[in-house]
């Protein structure tokens, strides 16, 4: 029976590698009896398991999106070249996931902001609605709470209106009561076609998204921590209004709604004939209460990121900001300087010399990675590890997740020689593949430099972090000399890459801290 099919939740453990929780006999025995209510103990299911059950219910029963583009392997996997260009089809040997379902779910878990892009009718809004239902809201409430972007949308439409009686009676502006819109208090917020919202209204949305409060007539409404889902038919500025950059920057991850695979038309037919809407059939045992959402968030934050994995991210992120021709002073040699100056990027980038532009991934972008993007990356990789039931973040988690976070953050320079090669031309349109390729190149470079084995800047940083208390002048001078020697060894090379730029700045920072300390020691003595 089709209804029963929709009620079915994947059996635990959904990822057998993760540990199962032990259950003690207690008063819960009260609820065992003639009626089989195994689900009565659903609350005893670890929340990461519940999250996986929710994922598998959505991919198996709700969203027909048979794309396993987040690939994990356990051992060797099989690969098959297809087509004239020999495009590779890989059959992953580990549990792999569909980004269109997984990313919104991780967004729900970490209460982030997710942009779903893709053509009309690809299930973007439906996917967002499922997240609202997952948070325990009635389907009608979720649908009513969707903010539908349209050119006439006003701030009042979005936030609320002053009470008419107060407008007449009030002696001062703070006496005007506001009828806030109900959606502001929800833990899942959905903005449909956000690129059709007028620019002025976008600005009020920005305050809400960035600072989590709404403001009208000097009155503010603090909103609960929420997961945001924004949809857009065209991410490349094809909406009615240009999306303000600050708003775009607030979006944490971008997911593409892929096409409908016509091999699954039969499933669509079954749903039509049975009159079934999956979002109305979501099993209760995968719904998350507010307390459970808080708990999931806490548990995700506690997932550790090993130093080796963090170092790879540092190395990757450090390669994008450096721009040799941007400034005279070393600290300002950044792409940000170029952007703020308004100078044509082509003019600057063509002046870059001395580097292999095919190998330098920094040459492929027009900007660097922001702090917000890095924080989002850290949170999402933790969430990914949590979702997989792992005890700590794995390098593969970082590799798989980073393209979705940086999708709209890294601005590609399509004129970079890297994209001229036939093998790389497709990366001009495939941003996910492009960012993942850059990460792979970064890791290859990291391995070539043997930084896991020999990273003098890391050694100096660790030494410094032990503290300056009790350090004698002789030792301080010795460390300063070591910094100077290292800088001298680099100064002869003509090839100066982004990661070295960050290293040099770090060395300068350490040298300055030691200099200040040395001055203080001299004064003290």
């Amino acid at each position: 029976m089709l209804q029963n099919f929709f009620k079915r939740v994947s059996q635990s453990p959904t990822n057998p590698s993760s540990k199962a929780a032990a259950r003690e006999f207690d008063v819960a025995d009260l609820y065992r009896g003639p009626v089989d209510v195994k689900d009565a103990f659903a609350s005893a299911v670890p929340l990461d398991e519940k999250l996986r059950q929710a994922y598998f219910w959505i991919v198996n029963h709700a969203v027909i999106s048979p794309f396993y583009d987040i690939e994990y392997n356990e051992g060797a996997s099989q690969t098959f070249p297809v087509g004239e260009r020999g495009n590779l089809v890989q059959l992953p040997s580990g549990q792999s996931y569909c980004s269109f379902v997984l990313m919104p779910l991780l967004t729900f878990a970490v209460r982030a902001k997710c942009l779903l892009v893709g053509g009309p009718g690809r299930g973007k809004t439906s996917s967002a609605v499922l997240m609202g239902v997952l948070a325990g809201y009635p389907i009608q409430e979720v649908r009513r709470a969707i903010q539908k972007g349209q050119p006439q949308m006003t701030i009042s439409d979005l936030l609320g209106s002053p009470l008419p009686s107060d407008l007449i009676k009030a002696q001062s502006i703070d006496q005007i009561g506001i009828a806030w819109r109900k959606w502001l208090g929800m833990r899942v917020k959905i903005i449909d076609e956000y690129n059709r919202i007028p620019t002025r209204t976008q600005s009020s949305l920005l305050t809400l998204m960035s600072d989590n409060y709404a403001e009208l007539y000097d009155q503010t409404l603090e909103c609960p921590e929420a997961a945001w889902y924004l949809t857009a038919n065209d991410d490349a500025g094809g909406g009615t209004y240009q999306v303000i950059e600050a708003l775009r920057d607030r979006i944490d991850v971008v997911v593409k709604a892929l096409h409908f695979n016509s091999r699954f038309l039969g499933e669509l037919l079954e749903r039509i004939e049975a009159g079934i809407r999956p979002e109305e059939m979501m099993p209760a045992q995968i719904l998350f209460t507010a307390a459970e959402c808080d708990q999931v968030h806490r548990e995700i934050r506690s997932i550790p990121i090993p130093a080796q994995v963090l170092r790879r991210l540092e190395f990757f992120a450090s390669q994008f900001e450096y721009c040799e021709s941007a400034a005279f002073q070393f600290e300002y040699k950044t792409k940000d300087t170029v952007k703020l100056s308004g100078i044509d990027w082509q003019q600057i980038s063509s002046a870059e010399s001395g580097k292999d532009k095919l190998k330098d991934i920094g040459a492929q972008t027009k900007n660097g990675v922001s702090v917000r993007a890095l924080m989002t990356t850290l949170m999402f990789v933790k969430a990914m590890s949590y979702f997989r039931g792992a005890a700590q973040v794995d390098l593969e988690d970082l590799r798989q997740l980073i393209p979705f976070v940086l999708h709209d953050k890294l601005v590609q320079d399509p004129d970079c020689p890297f994209f001229e090669s036939a093998d790389n031309a497709s990366f001009r349109s495939d941003k996910i593949g492009w960012i993942r390729r850059m990460f792979d190149m970064s890791c290859a470079e990291y391995d070539r430099l043997q930084l896991d084995r020999d990273d003098p800047v890391l050694k100096m940083s660790i030494e410094f972090e032990k503290g300056l208390d009790g350090l004698e002048q002789r030792e301080v001078r010795k460390r300063m000399v070591e910094i100077e020697r290292l800088l001298k060894s680099w100064s002869g090379s003509r090839k100066f890459y982004g990661h070295m730029y960050d290293d040099v700045l770090k060395l300068k920072y350490l040298h300055q801290r030691y200099t200040n300390y040395l001055r203080w020691l001299t004064w003290k003595e």
Binding site: M1, Q3, D26, L30, Y31, G33, V35, A40, P138, L287
Partner: protein, 352 residues
Amino acid sequence: MFEDQRDALNALFRSRIKQGAKIDSQAFAEHIRTRIVPCVEAISLVLPERTRLSTLELFEVSLDLFMVGHFENESKTPHLYRLWSEHLPKLAKHLACDPRRVAGSLSNALIKIEMQSSHTAERWLSHVETAAQYTESVDELLNLGKAAAWLSGMPHYRTSAIAAMRLLPKSLILRLLEMPLDLNEPDIHTSLEKMVVDPWYSILGSNSSDAMQVRQVGHCGAFVGFGGEMRKPPVVTANEGMLVASDGQHVWQIFADRFGAVTQRIDLSPFHENKIQKKTDPRLTTGGLIRWGESQLKRPDLANASSSAFDGGTFAVTIPTSFQVVLFAQTAPLAHSVIPAVKTVATPGVGA
């Protein structure tokens, strides 16, 4: 309302009959009309989109119950009838979220509680009815049910029920304990912790040594012919910190606290030993005087007791002419307990 699901529901009913279930179709139709329909109607007002799923699940849960003979005779499980006809419709908010879990769990619980005592079932329903409206989720409701079971007179669940209670919001705990909501109780959780350790700890009453006196706090055990468990007048002893009673054929562990006293059968060798604790406190004299530190209690009806035992908190006494075990503790008056002692603690019926 069931029109569009008629085929599915009929198929479900037929599949159960095929499995060999003997279900009176007329009684089931009456059950649908008087119990399922009110629930579904209530759900349709709260979460209309869950009506279809809820109908299906309530139908299945009902079949589960009919298959094992419930709903056949109202006098057999009167509280189950009340749960479905009066209480479940009021829980539509939770029922809509997870019909099988809510209806199934509460039905299972009520069947189990009713097997222990009709009074306990009555109290449990009353607790659930009073506090359920303040619960926010199904988990909260079920934790409330667990806590209510203990408060209704199931002391064997005390530790785990308190653990479930600690998951509830403070206001709900206060409602369950029938304490004022504005009670200046700095840490209700600390009190709950004390109740785990000390079965006679009183939240509202004084726990100072001045207020402590030896008092009768309950009784348990009854003649098998009157619906009890004992075939012969029992004797008691203390075994590894537990109070146990035996009628010579079977052994039961005695659980007692401020909210009730029960026996639970355990797998131990039966015993006939008749020991009276006369040398250490608490002690019982041949004349029926209980001495416990500075406090004492005269109970002539317990003169010539057949056995007594102490587990560190509760003092159990039996006499040769009764099927009951009488329980004493050094505690503040039970009138301060949440459930008035008079409901759970009757004057022990000495003599069968």
